[in-house]
């Protein structure tokens, strides 16, 4: 039996290729079942108008039972959006990437959630503990134990 993760990702990929991504989300790279890249853009009226950010997904073999590692790309001149739940190193504090992850969620569903997270933002600012976190942050955001305290933005 091919691993669940490879089978699932190939299905997701073929679905993306045949049906396309939702508006504002584009698949950039999916050469293997380890790392995928998407660009994400908030459509319509928002604080992030005209900004295009790159989102990186990293999968391990336990996907989709456990969540993928998702973060914004901050290398090669790319920037993470300025948002109270996004750290300047690209790490994202979102409960669906942590304890509220469910195996029925998909890559596209995560993209859409993050897109709406940006769209509903009222004020562009970094998380309060940004500097402290970024200084000691692990490479993989899944190793961070986030405390989800605010679901308004």
């Amino acid at each position: 039996m091919a691993s669940i993760s490879a089978r699932r990702l190939s299905k997701e990929l073929s679905e993306i290729r045949s049906e396309g991504c939702p508006v504002g989300i584009n698949l950039v790279q999916a050469d293997d079942f380890a790392t995928w890249l998407f660009t994400i853009e908030v459509m319509g009226e928002s604080l992030y108008q005209g900004e295009v950010h790159t989102l990186q997904f990293r999968f391990d073999t336990s996907y989709p039972i456990s969540s993928p590692a998702v973060q914004f790309v901050v290398t090669d001149g790319k920037q993470a959006p300025v948002h109270p739940h996004v750290y300047s190193n690209g790490h994202i504090c979102a409960s669906i990437l942590g304890n509220e992850w469910s195996p029925v969620l998909s890559v596209v569903a995560v993209c859409v959630t993050l897109q709406s997270m940006l769209a509903s933002c009222k004020k562009k600012e970094r998380p309060v503990d940004n500097d402290r976190y970024v200084r000691n942050a692990p490479d993989n955001p899944k190793k961070t134990r986030f405390h989800y305290d605010d679901d308004t933005v």
Partner: protein
């Protein structure tokens, strides 16, 4: 005063037991049955007859995992009887309420649907007038939940799981009908598992009452990950935002194939069976952790539980030292029950019984001192503050290069070894200002010099007091670490004895027994020093230290005997001496433990510092 203790009314016991001991060891003629003798041997040295609890011991029971499962079952059945629900539902409700039956009953009577929703048993539904309590036992007789089942009727409040919680070997109510299977025939389009996107028509799909269907492979992977990696005992449905919790029969049906089912990969099946066993252990652990009367044995891979209601309350820990043992010995696969193999396997660490303190995790047996004081003492010993204290009271810094200097003699004219700076030890000023009259310093700064000396000697006195107790404590700690060597040496001696004399292996056991006793008493002695350090001055402390001294003397005498060379001709004499001493040491140890424990019960001990849970020493002095 101390003599009152030595010749107290316990003496009757002493002589009686002494005779017992002689009976057991001198009866050299009729020892043909070795096994029986081994069993009887351990009892010969018991000073107090079995059955009578000593004041320094606590009442406790050792429970195996199956015994705890029985307790769980009793609770579950109780709830089943009251609520008229299935065992698996009762079990989920109890787990949700941390096994607090009273609160569960209260809450359930108050609002049954709220609690079943909160516990993840039923799907939250638009309010319906029918209360699930009325569904009663009929829920058990309900048919296979189909995807199309109307969810309005009151009977659908509970999913229809079998009641096979405690019978992991068989799955009576599940096997025939596969109640969790989601019938695909009823659906118009072919089923595609939303997780692995597998659409093979042979796929076995399963869902809870929420109708979120997934293939069995995904369920297995999910449950295994939750149980193995996250040690979760309440596993929710895989669907996003769904709060339903998988009941035990469901987990079992996923992980353990039904009898007669086509055989899968044997390695995988074994893995899944282990996961199911692990899940059952997790439930037991949750039950034990929720019950203050119970504690899981902390030894690696031991699954026993100890029940000790008398030490369950934190307040009781100031009067008792709840040293307990789960009854097993050894580590991992080599564990054995101590009842079946008494003294034989206890040499060395591997065969030690699983002894631990019910009240604290600091050390397995810190009798006679209570947890709070033991903890304080260990913290003090660990803190570097004492080292700093020593440095402060014994050294000064060179005013030039800041090197730490300890003055161990000579005059006040100091020359720093490192930077060659010359200064006066008293005023710390450069020596050049003193000229040849070194005492001029004294006269110049008389008041300050006296003050400084006073402060220094005070600090030194408290430090010396601490070091006095610490050194003795550490000495016994060190001896305990060396006890492994001593065990090995003693075993060698016992072999020598067998060769040089006509004694049998059984008859030379007295050596081993003596070593064990010395080891045990050293543990007691060790902790008496921690206790004495904190005891307030007074008659009680004097008595305590008298008992401590007597035990220490007896232990050292016995240790010396054990170390003495063995000569063939005086083995019988040595044997007599060692056995006598062993019994005496045992007796002294009993006295220390007994007296200290009684003291805690009578709150006789007064401390020189504030100890958690005890009266403030300042107040009680007045």
């Amino acid at each position: 005063m101390s003599s009152d203790y030595e010749f107290s009314d316990d003496d009757g016991d002493y002589y009686v037991d002494d005779e017992d001991m002689i009976d057991g060891t001198q009866d050299e003629s009729g020892q043909s049955d070795d096994d029986m003798d081994m069993d009887a041997y351990g009892d010969d040295f018991k000073v107090v007859p079995k059955g009578k609890r000593k004041s320094y011991e606590v009442d406790y029971d050792s429970l195996s995992q199956s015994a705890v499962e029985k307790l769980i079952n009793d609770d579950v059945e109780h709830i089943c009887g009251i609520f008229g629900v299935d065992a698996s539902i009762a079990s989920l409700l109890l787990r949700y309420m941390s096994w607090n039956k009273e609160r569960l009953i209260e809450k359930y009577m108050d609002n049954p649907s709220a609690i079943t929703v909160a516990a993840g048993i039923t799907v939250p539904e638009p309010p319906s007038p029918s209360a699930p309590i009325r569904s009663g036992p009929s829920s058990a007789t309900q048919t296979t939940p189909t995807a199309r089942r109307p969810t309005r009727s009151s009977t659908s409040k509970f999913p229809s799981f079998g009641s096979s919680k405690s019978t992991p070997s068989k799955t009576p109510s599940i096997s025939p009908a596969q109640p969790f299977a989601t019938p695909r025939a009823a659906k118009s389009e072919p089923f595609v598992c939303p997780i692995c996107f597998d659409d093979s028509p042979t796929l076995r799909t399963l869902s809870l009452d929420c109708k979120h269907a997934f293939c069995s492979g995904c369920w297995t992977a999910y449950l295994s990950s939750k149980i193995r990696d996250e040690a979760e005992h309440a596993i929710r449905c895989m669907a996003e935002g769904c709060a339903l919790v998988t009941p035990d029969p469901f987990i079992q049906s996923v992980l353990v194939p039904e009898p007669g089912a086509p055989a899968g990969d044997p390695a995988e099946e074994a893995e899944n069976a282990a996961t199911w066993a692990r899940f059952q252990e997790l439930v037991v652990r949750h039950f034990v952790a929720s019950n203050p009367n119970l504690k899981y044995c902390p030894y690696p891979s031991c699954t026993n539980t100890v029940s000790c209601p008398s030490a369950a309350l934190k307040a009781s820990l100031i009067t008792v030292v709840p040293t307990v043992s789960c009854g097993a010995r050894g580590v991992g696969g080599q564990m054995s029950q101590s009842q079946s193999q008494p003294a034989q396997s206890s040499l060395g660490v591997a065969g030690r019984e699983h002894r631990f303190c019910f009240g604290c995790p600091i050390e397995s047996d810190h009798r006679p001192v209570v947890c709070g004081v033991a903890r304080m003492w260990l913290k003090k010993c660990r803190d570097d503050s004492e080292t700093a204290n020593w440095i402060k009271s014994n050294t000064k810094e060179c005013t030039m290069c800041q090197s730490t200097i300890e003055k161990n003699g000579g005059c006040n004219h100091m020359t720093c070894k490192k930077c060659k700076h010359e200064f006066c030890w008293v005023c710390m000023g450069p020596w050049s200002e003193h000229g040849t009259a070194w005492y001029s310093c004294n006269r110049y700064d008389e008041k300050g010099g006296v003050d400084a000396r006073d402060a220094q000697s005070k600090s030194r006195a408290s430090l010396e007091r601490y070091l006095h107790y610490y050194n003795r404590w550490a000495n016994h700690e060190q001896s305990a670490k060396l006890s492994l060597d001593l065990y090995a040496k003693t075993e060698k001696k016992m072999e020598d004895m067998q060769i040089t004399s006509a004694l049998t292996w059984i008859e030379v056991q007295f050596m081993k027994k003596a070593v064990e006793e010395v080891d045990k008493c050293r543990m007691t002695l060790k902790w008496t020093y921690a206790m004495a350090y904190y005891l307030a001055k007074g008659n009680e402390k004097d008595l305590f230290e008298d008992n401590q001294r007597d035990l220490e003397k007896a232990v050292e005498d016995l240790s010396e005997l054990l170390e003495s060379p063995i000569e063939a001709e005086n083995i019988p004499a040595l044997r007599q001496k060692v056995t006598d001493k062993t019994v005496y040491v045992q007796k002294r140890n009993e006295i220390v433990l007994e007296d200290t424990a009684t003291g805690f019960l009578d709150s006789r001990w007064k401390w020189n510092v504030t100890v958690d849970g005890f009266d403030d020493p300042e107040k009680s002095d007045n």
